[in-house]
Symmetry: C2
Subunit: 198 residues, 2 copies
């Protein structure tokens, strides 16, 4: 008998359950005490089901983090680049204040920071978020709000950079005021033509 | 018999020797294998001499790193803010490419990143470097090259942020091209009045 349900159904459900359990374990236990056993138990699947899809705990963490961070990106389209960039910056700043965001930050920048696969994950997650946010800049250039030749990636890096500085180095509050400042700086640099294609 | 040598002489020499040995040990062995014993041996002093001045290995590392990073800051005064900011940005980028810079980076952002005293050291070292570089901006405002009310710390944070982003996240080359870009972005934002006092 043929089922009407899509064949990917069960695989996608297992994947989602394991991802959710991975983040929950990171939040509850932290990176050092993280174990695939506990994830499997929490997700209600057998450990071998996890190892069939992810080769080790690092791959599992990286995959769950990348998926979580990617879903987190809004695609604001308010009609003005100022408001769109503010929304992106606030969403980035906010993403590190949630329990999952805090746990991810701790894993990516302290607990597991020495692992090459985590350095690679930091790059991967960052570029994925960048790519998803680029339409905001592309649309602004098309509307004539930003100089032709403005490089979307360069603008978004400038915006993110100011937020990451306080997050990783100064320890100053990562809040809406910082987000708005980061958006203002990126916009000013773009208007001045300092963020053109190299 | 009175000596003509300043009384701080020996203390300062021991301090300098222990600092140099600390950086050399970090470069050779890395943070995880770092030991006060090895530092004392390398500096040619007794272990108790080290412990009399620094309460533990973390204090010693933080102190040596802070001193090294502080000495590393130039005070460019070329007559134009463009050239001064470029010099500051290039010096910051360059500081992470030396063996000592690489070892410090590894200790501060990976090996010891989970320790509260290292997070505090990151803040301390950053603010110390910021403070030393502020005259570049103050002079530019006085010369009328930058808007009155430009906040030196905000300008320098914008400059540093773009460099730290590639250093800590994207993994893209931290070179003169990046430094010049960071200086250009900070300058454009300042000219646009986006870096004023809050």
């Amino acid at each position: 008998m043929k089922s009407d349900r899509p064949v990917v159904g069960r695989g996608a459900k297992v994947r989602a359950a394991v991802h959710a359990a991975t983040l929950a374990e990171l939040v509850d236990k932290g990176y050092a005490a993280f174990s695939v056993d506990a994830v499997a138990q929490r997700a209600g699947v057998h450990k071998t089901t996890v190892y069939r899809r992810w080769k080790d705990r690092e791959s599992l963490i990286v995959d769950a983090v990348a998926e979580h961070m990617a879903m987190d990106i809004p695609d604001p389209d308010t009609g003005t680049v100022e408001a769109d960039l503010r929304a992106l910056a606030r969403s980035l700043a906010h993403s590190f204040t949630t329990p999952a965001g805090q746990a991810i930050l701790a894993a990516m920048f302290t607990g597991a920071a020495h692992l090459p696969e985590i350095a690679e994950a930091r790059r991967h997650v960052f570029h994925d978020r960048l790519r998803r946010a680029e339409p905001v800049v592309t649309r602004a250039v098309a509307r004539g709000e930003l100089p032709a030749g403005t490089d979307p990636a360069e603008l978004l890096k400038t915006l993110a950079a100011r937020i990451y500085l306080d997050l990783l180095i100064t320890g100053d509050p990562v809040d809406e005021a910082l987000a708005d400042k980061a958006a203002r700086i990126a916009l000013a640099a773009a208007h001045a033509g300092a963020l053109g294609h190299a």
